[in-house]
């Protein structure tokens, strides 16, 4: 499997993702935002960080960068795209995923581990979570409060396009287990074709038992098996 990690000025989780990809023997290339072509890849990753210093809106300027046209083409051709944190914000600004990510409800930057329920395991990113669907991953964001109108939310629920929801350690999805005020406790969503996943938590940070867990590794393992 081949992957490309897009690097923007201000990306800061690009190397973490690269290390994760390397661990699972996925052949990766870093791609600078000014490139006009993508190397041949099965998977494109938009990493976390603060692309362009979050100017104007988070992910906004990155969504207009040169390489994004290639990423959109890759998506149209059915290629896999994973957007993590700022990458999720960029996917939304690009229009590849619906909704918007507002500032956290309590206006605070959140950096902690949260429990997640894997709601949809029937996609190439998440099928490895079949045996373990309540997981723990770190979040680190200021704008992760997913918001969409009722029509969009209904569509996401009805078509089973929500990949992850914030929950507590028992899997209960409610207000108390919602760290940032996201509608329906949404932490990650898929597009209709299910080849694009955007998520606020950072799976690339939990790929090694020495670093407190492997819950994030399952995404990379799932992707490997899908090809």
């Amino acid at each position: 499997m081949k992957s490309s990690v897009i690097v923007f000025p201000g990306s800061n989780c690009d190397r973490d993702v690269a290390v994760a990809l390397q661990k699972f023997h996925i052949e990766n290339q870093m791609v600078w935002h000014n490139e006009t072509s993508l190397p041949k890849s099965d998977l494109v990753i938009l990493p976390g960080g603060f692309s362009y210093g979050d100017y104007l809106r988070t992910g906004c300027i990155a969504s207009k960068s040169r390489v994004i046209n290639e990423v959109i083409q890759h998506a149209k051709n059915g290629g896999l795209i994973l957007g993590i944190c700022n990458g999720f914000q960029i996917l939304i600004e690009t229009g590849l995923l619906p909704g918007v990510l507002l500032r956290n409800k309590k206006l605070r930057f959140l950096s902690k581990n949260v429990f997640l329920k894997v709601v949809n395991i029937e996609n190439q990113f998440c099928f490895g979570y079949e045996k373990k669907n309540i997981i723990q991953l770190p979040i680190a964001h200021n704008e992760g409060n997913f918001f969409a109108n009722n029509e969009v939310l209904k569509k996401l629920e009805d078509k089973n396009l929500i990949a992850f929801k914030y929950c507590d350690d028992k899997g209960a999805i409610n207000k108390d287990s919602n760290p940032n005020g996201s509608s329906n406790n949404i932490a990650g969503i898929l597009n209709e074709a299910k080849n694009i996943l955007g998520m606020m938590p950072h799976p690339e940070r939990l790929i090694d038992p020495l670093l407190s867990g492997e819950d994030g590794a399952i995404i990379f393992q799932s992707l490997l098996k899908s090809k």
Binding site: Y52, G53, Y55, L56, I61, K64, S65, R66
Partner: protein, 79 residues
């Protein structure tokens, strides 16, 4: 009465955010854009019918709170 205040960086102060927006617009193909400056816009509703008094109040709060007069300018307009 409703009054709006626009706060922008002074001409000589570097506005990196405006510059990035300007460059992005150029990349998107808008060649005729010369420059972009980013600022803040406030809509203030007052319990006041006298235009002059209202203006004075908004000028005062613009100086005291809304702007840092070392680097920013403000303009006030009535609706």
């Amino acid at each position: 009465m409703k009054i709006s205040a626009t706060v922008t960086l002074k001409k000589d102060v570097l506005d990196p955010q405006g510059k990035v927006v300007n460059q992005t617009l150029k990349n998107m193909g808008y060649d005729n854009i010369v420059s972009v400056r980013q600022g803040k816009y406030f809509e203030i509703e007052l319990n006041e019918t006298d235009k002059n008094k209202a203006k004075k109040i908004v000028e005062e709060i613009s100086k005291k709170l809304l702007t840092n007069i070392v680097i920013e300018d403000y303009t006030i307009s009535f609706e």
